[in-house]
Amino acid sequence: MGEGSVSQTGKRQPTWKLAQAIASDTQGLVVTGFGHLPNGRALFLELPAGSGPGGGAWLKVLEVVAPVTPAVPPAGDEAVQPRAAALAFTWTGLERLRLPPTALASFARPFREGMMQEDRLRRLGDRRGDEWQDTVIAGGPVWSANTPRRPPVERHVGAYDVAEPCKDKVVKTDLSVHAILLLYTETADDAGQWAAAVREALRPHGIEVVRELELLLDVVGADNVSREHFGFADGLSQPEPFDKDGFVFLDGTKVCEADRVQGVPLGEFLIGYVNGHHESAPGPVVPGDGWGDVGLLPQHEAAQGFKDLGRNGTYMVVRELRQDVAAFWRSMDENAAAIQARDPRHSAHVTAEWLAERVVGRNRDGHLLCPGGYLKADPSGQPDNRFLFHESDPHGVGCPPGSHVRRAHPRDALAPTAKDRQTLLAAANNHRILRRGRKFGPKIADDRTDDGQVRGLLFMCLNTDIARQFEFVQQTWLLNRDFATLSEESDPLVGPRGRMTIREEPLRRTVQVLTYVELAGGDYFFLPSLPAIRYLASL
């Protein structure tokens, strides 16, 4: 699934790197999904409440047992690292670390309010009013940051005011997650041992691992491509950062210009660099005196007397998505049978596999659907990702207009005319996310039979403007019921049940898709720089 994507592995094309000057300050997860470490754990931490100094002391312990991996590979080759770790905090987590209140107020609004804010849940398609939608597990998500209700707006009572009740609702989950620790290892055994060691080390500090997911990359076959649970190659299309000030390198050379198709400014994924709006994304600050060891942080450029907590950090969106593999494939079977019943003479090609490819927009190996077949592999034999839709498939006869890949990143597909293609491609690249998801749960034995096991994708993505990047992708592309002049249909893979149009000449086919992916928990995290983590440890 493109939305939540498993990292790619193996030696494919060269991957981008950060300039040495900032790489040692930046978490490794920003530049890599640690594809050489196929196993791992996601530990969801609950921090103890408390007061006074010492809220971040446990981070010094963590520094010993699971040091956060920087973006600079030791001895020049990341493949020699047997272990890697990444760490991020929710807003309530930072509160528990006892970050000063002004610093807590300096974060971006989506992060401060949390994913479970009622208006945000509506925009993300998870909840309307008091009703969880059917793309959420029964009873609602089990974990979130449990960000408290926004403080009532301080309001001077005026002489002529008419009473207005506070209408904010609180959406709570059973588990409160304050931090997420991601561990990446070569073997499953090592992941288990490491996770146990971390648990052990943190327990004396009152830190509970309230949820743990076994992460894995599932690489089968020689193509070095990992597949998500439905069976499709994943993590293929990623933005390629560039930076006009020369902070991005590819194959040893500076990348100062945007790639024609996938080029996105570094500032879209890292605070402190030029982003799609020609500025550095606003980041958090801490007062320059009195709270922790502020000497670890650089001076903030605009806020005189404040230290820059955001530089070389970013925001991470996490959504635990469960996948019902048997329901997906059985539903494809049923739809194929229904189409064949209605059109017995011209539908020999319509099979469950054919329909599933159209739902995703690629075949199992990751090759894009094109009019009359699949897109040819690139010279290295990998799925080609430099394609544009409007050029080769303007009406979506090959890759359906509402297929998951086309919705997740429309490229130039939404251009009304050929002369608008470049504008629409550039516009689409203003809403990109860097996907770092991994799947969890065992592989299904028979994809038509429900084995009762829980499996899915821990969707994780990095962006510096949550509203313009992740939320936009979710609301305006994936779940938009009018995307690309379709009507009353959403993303067939990750959206709610409903219609899906598959274009054929002269008459399109339609299928009724069900809900195959459900949200089990999620929230917004802040992925700090390494100096910022050291600062938090000093609190």
Binding site: V162, H277, R342, T423, E488
Partner: protein
């Protein structure tokens, strides 16, 4: 069918502002609820105001003005019918709201008294009509489609879908395995029984007369602007010898051009590279520009000749000169107009230079105050349906040049939109149903209302990414707008700053009604294409294939 967009701005008694907001909220709640217990919203408006597309009521607060209550309405046909329907549905509610508003101190005062006095039965609509503001610029996305037509064509799509792939159907489908023409014929035959209107040709969305007037207005506007800009040249060309005049123009133009060139850079850190290049844009339209010059010279000469001829006739009567007939005068006048046009190379750079002078001294508002309480009220009302609504008021930058530019700019933009934006597309965007600008408070403030598709953020992103040039032109006159360059560059390209500026200017859309909340502009056009195709007795194979792609 012609459509009308209007707004009624009313000053609010500060003491009654909170009460007014509560009244609007209560009205919205009352109308939104389905009395029959169903899931329909705003049933009474839909049935009793059949010409209405969109309507809103908001209260704008501002630091330097008392609150302003604004009623916005977009409907089919002339205002008379609308006000009649409005009176019947909202009369009593509006009367109570008007009591929260100030009594106008001009000649509308007595009417206000009559409407708002205790136990008054005087209709409120005439008062609202008297206080109505016409927009300075407006845009209608699905221009010429009446509300009823939009609704019935949307219903037709539902019927078509049911026919093509209803779940209750079994057995082989008659629509598969046939050519597009056959598909069209079969579907049309099947639907004709229940939709006899498919036998009638589609009513024209814009009549030829309307279209002609749209073009004429734009041409007259262009001629007047050019005439005004070449006025110095007209005078000088008559006073000076031709060679002196040309030499003077060229030398001054070079000087002006050099000065403009020196000031071409954006303010430090604000310049944004853009794909739009004014010179290539103009070069790409050279034929049009040439035609425009010919048309201008001819029209301006035709406009001027009768006056000149009349003056010489008068002079002749008094023995002060020779009478020049209209036919005799035409060529010399046309010549002079053409030579006068040469002075554009001076007047245009002069205005640009003046503008650059202002732009380089403008302030921009980097962090406008956003009222947290109002923001939460706005967000709470958004993203429930496919469409959303926004209202905004910004103060306008002062100064004589800015005043002229914004007045002429809005007039020109409005006329241009009428000519160009007839299929819902604004450039490459197609998300605006009804939007308009209007000047308030003796043109010191600019009001903007829009009824658009998708989220507010995506609506603004659309503009930032695809139409920042036009947006900067139209809104750059607002106080605090991000730094602009040559009126059209930079500005809105500073996406986050532009958005926070726009957000701070908004008001809560306390009452907002859409007659078709789940239909986007794009969908309405698609439904219209499907319906228009079905109205045709037969289509060519190619036309049928294109038509079938929409099904």
């Amino acid at each position: 069918m012609k459509q009308t967009t209007l707004c009624v701005p009313l000053e609010v008694k500060p003491e009654s502002c909170s009460r007014l907001c509560a009244l609007i909220d209560a009205l919205c709640l009352r109308e939104d609820k389905d009395d029959a217990g169903g899931t329909q919203h705003f049933v009474r408006l839909t049935t009793e105001m059949p010409t209405l597309h969109f309507m809103s009521m908001s209260v704008f607060t501002a630091a330097h003005y008392d609150p302003t209550f604004i009623l916005e309405a977009n409907f089919d046909g002339p205002p008379g019918v609308f006000w009649g329907q409005f009176e019947a549905v909202f009369g009593p509610d509006l009367r109570e709201m008007l009591r929260c508003c100030k009594k106008p101190l001009n000649e509308d005062g007595p009417l206000y008294e009559a409407v708002t006095s205790a136990d008054s039965r005087t209709p409120v609509a005439p008062y609202l009509e008297a206080r109505t503001r016409r927009p300075s610029v407006f845009h209608h996305g699905n221009r010429g489609l009446t509300r009823d037509r939009i609704l019935s064509e949307a219903k037709l799509l539902g019927t078509v879908r049911n026919e093509l792939d209803g779940t209750d159907l079994s057995g082989p489908s008659p629509y598969r395995g046939i050519e597009a023409t056959g598909l069209h014929r079969a579907l049309r035959e099947r639907l004709l029984a229940d939709h006899p209107w498919l036998n009638e040709p589609p009513p024209p969305r814009i009549t030829k007369g309307e279209r002609l007037i749209d073009y004429l207005r734009l041409v007259v506007f262009a001629v007047v602007v050019l005439l005004a800009l070449s006025l110095p040249g007209l005078v000088l060309a008559l006073l000076l010898g031709r060679s002196t005049y040309v030499a003077l123009m060229v030398v001054t133009a070079l000087l002006m051009g050099a000065l403009v060139y020196l000031k071409r850079q954006g303010l430090p850190g604000t310049q944004v590279a853009t794909r739009f290049n004014l010179l290539t844009f103009l070069a790409g339209h050279w034929l049009l520009l040439g035609l425009l010059v010919v048309a201008y010279v001819a029209t301006a000469a035709l406009l001027l000749v009768p006056g000149i001829s009349a003056v010489t006739w008068l002079l002749d009567r008094f023995g002060a000169g020779r009478y020049v007939s209209v036919f005799e005068a035409f060529w010399p006048v046309a010549h002079t107009v053409l030579w006068g046009l040469l002075s554009l190379i001076v007047t245009l750079p002069f205005l640009v230079l003046w503008l650059r002078f202002l732009e380089r001294r403008d302030t921009s508002h980097d962090a406008p105050h956003v009222d947290e309480r109002l923001l939460r009220e706005m967000v709470r009302r958004e993203d429930w349906v496919a469409q959303n609504h926004m209202g905004s008021i910004v103060p306008i930058r002062p100064g004589i040049l800015r005043t002229i530019v914004i007045r002429a700019g809005h007039l020109g933009l409005g006329l241009l939109l009428r000519v160009k934006a007839t299929s819902g597309h604004l450039g490459s965007m197609r998300t605006v149903h009804f939007a308009h600008w209007a000047f308030l408070d003796n043109s010191s403030r600019l009001l903007f209302f829009s009824n658009f598709d998708h989220s507010w953020d995506s609506y603004l992103d659309d503009f930032i990414e695809k139409a920042h040039v036009g947006l900067t032109l139209a809104w750059g006159c607002g106080v605090g707008f991000p730094p602009t360059r040559f009126l059209i560059f930079d500005g809105a390209s500073h996406g986050r700053r532009f958005k926070s500026w726009a957000l701070a200017s908004r008001a809560v859309s306390r009452f907002w009604y859409s007659a078709y909340p789940e239909l986007t502009v794009d969908q309405i056009e698609r439904n219209n294409r499907i319906a228009n195709g079905l109205r045709e007795a037969s289509l060519s194979e190619e036309a049928a294939r294109t038509w079938a792609r929409d099904l």
